[in-house]
Symmetry: C2
Subunit: 123 residues, 2 copies
Amino acid sequence: MIPDKMREVLKKDGVVAIATLGEDGPHLVNTWNSYVRITDDERLLIPAGYMNRTEANITTNNDVLITVGSSKVAGINGPGTGFLIKGTAAFITSGPDFEATKARFSWARAVLAVTINSATQTL
Amino acid sequence: MIPDKMREVLKKDGVVAIATLGEDGPHLVNTWNSYVRITDDERLLIPAGYMNRTEANITTNNDVLITVGSSKVAGINGPGTGFLIKGTAAFITSGPDFEATKARFSWARAVLAVTINSATQTL
């Protein structure tokens, strides 16, 4: 389900945005493209250093929107592409997904694990 | 009010995320760092090609969250920085701000003009 082009984007330098909804409205946090790992079953694993508000938000509403993009990957209209990912998220603090993340990012206090519902190319 | 470091980020290659709130929940759209112009009075002018959902959302709730970042600008903890911008937005389709944007981006159907309430360095 994850397009090859999205995998290509995640190999380029760039900033990922992650939106959740809280009582005060939307909340946005960022990570780097290079921090996002795609599992064999096509979930996204994102190391969480802070992301406290994101964690609080998903306890009441686990919907997340994520955008990734790169000007270095060809898109629909020429250079540059981006994806809008809709999914549901959970914070994981133990088990193999957490351990694998912690091994790579020692500062990770948790893993934001995202189950993808759709990944749409937007450009 | 706009930090110099944020201006520096906008000069680097990168993806901007713009979040609004609609009836269905948060909505995210993207643009490129290089497309964002800072006016003398420190508003952001962003050319809108599509952004139809964003436009619809701000007619009922004009709050926007915007993130910008670059791995190429030094941050708090070393290489890489990012900013979370909170503001209010309007779509403008005439007048000098629109004309200036249209001159640079002929495909722009409108300008998303953002009045900044806060711009916080997050990394």
